[in-house]
Symmetry: none
Subunit: 219 residues, 2 copies
DNA sequence: CACCCGCGTAAAAATGTCGTAAAGTTCATT
DNA sequence: AATGAACTTTACGACATTTTTACGCGGGTG
């Protein structure tokens, strides 16, 4: 949820329209008093400095005290001193009116990306852990060395845990579009993976075959 | 150290003056080729998009690939589409010329503040300590002398401890984009590092090779 | 029942990558 | 001009990986 703090209704409407076009949920506040209760739940704040009940700078440092969410100041004041003050008080960006909607969204995305930045997650299948961020695979805690093709295959399967990945998908991505038909490659690589990861390679539990379609990693 | 990338000498001088007034160390580069080797050591980058040898956007994404340091784009182009593109490629801010020195400094401070004041001073791997702040490397307490390329390689690996750094990343940053294919350089430098840092250079523990991909520093 | 298909398995052949040494080159310093 | 350090370039053997080929099994089909 993105919080808009501005006293002019038409600016709020404009900002709200831009944000919802960008796919965000929006909350609005017209002054400092009504804004503070919403700050805690906001993923980011768009803040106008010219508020009726309170100086915007004070509100900014109050927000910073409560929340680490990005704050983008949206203001009509262009003076560099204003910008410097706001930025040093903890604002993440300072946009002057009139502003471009797409630019505002891009600046918001940039601010959120910096805060968030946690896309990497490890996939677990049985006692096997696949960490695509570090490109490491462990079985029962012990690191397992995989070749490029082996890892490529496992990573593709881990990208869609529990779902079938077709022969064609695997081959085009790992071996390139020219080898869509070389299913033999796939079988050799799958075998190598099973030997390294399965307790009983002859009776695979993790890397299952779906006859005529592809493979799947069970989780 | 803050890196300035701009082809116009007078702009570089201006930026350098502003930065040193703000108390920062400065390094300058006039094109993409000379910039890449400096990126690894930069705490932040001021980047002009209009470079002679390469599209600024490309350089931006290359920088993002090897470094998490803040990038502030400083450009004469005011089009919103430019800003959106740069911000979505990983730029932290976009400042249009002509710019105000104090505002630029404030934006730089904001960007550096967000990056979490201090990003890992010294990296330890076994009995080897890499202090990128002082550019010093010690093994079992004793200082080890490294050449520029050796240190560059080690610093790149230490910037992402435990993770694989690809051949291409290492080569573009240390030797420049023109040598992405000269993997032989890499092997020679890796060998030299191993001789100086590993207990048994023939059986490396610290500087591991990931066949066909790159190298990694184990911690 | 004999056949075919897709699969797993094995192993040989081809290719690619790495480590290593050493010779040649550049460059700053003296 | 001589020196030495750092860097570039080349060559080759050892080893790892990938590709290619061959064969046996088992389940469904005619």
């Amino acid at each position: 949820m993105i919080l808009i703090v501005d006293d002019e209704p038409h600016v709020r409407r404009l900002l709200a329209a831009i944000l919802s076009r960008g796919g965000y949920d929006v909350a609005e506040a017209c002054d400092a008093r009504s804004a503070m209760p919403l700050v805690a739940r906001a993923e980011a704040v768009l803040l106008d400095l010219g508020l009726p009940d309170r100086d915007g700078m004070e509100l900014l440092s109050d927000i910073r005290r409560v929340s680490a969410a990005p704050v983008l100041v949206v203001s009509a004041r262009e003076a560099a001193a204003e910008k410097v003050a706001a930025l040093d008080l903890g604002a993440d960006d300072y946009v002057t009116k009139p502003f471009d909607g797409d630019e505002l969204l891009a600046r918001l995305r940039a601010a959120l990306r910096r805060r968030g930045a946690e896309p990497a997650r490890a996939v677990t299948a049985g006692d096997v852990v696949i960490d695509t961020e570090r490109r490491s695979v462990t079985k029962a805690g012990a690191e397992v060395h995989l070749t490029r093709k082996e890892y490529g295959l496992l990573a593709m399967l881990a990208a869609h845990p529990g779902r079938i990945v077709t022969h064609a998908q695997l081959l085009t991505v790992i071996w390139g579009p020219a080898h869509v038909a070389d299913i033999a490659y796939l079988r050799v690589a799958a075998r190598a993976l099973r030997v390294k990861l399965e307790d009983d390679p002859a009776r695979p539990v993790l890397i299952r075959n779906e006859p005529g379609i592809g493979y799947r990693l069970v989780v």
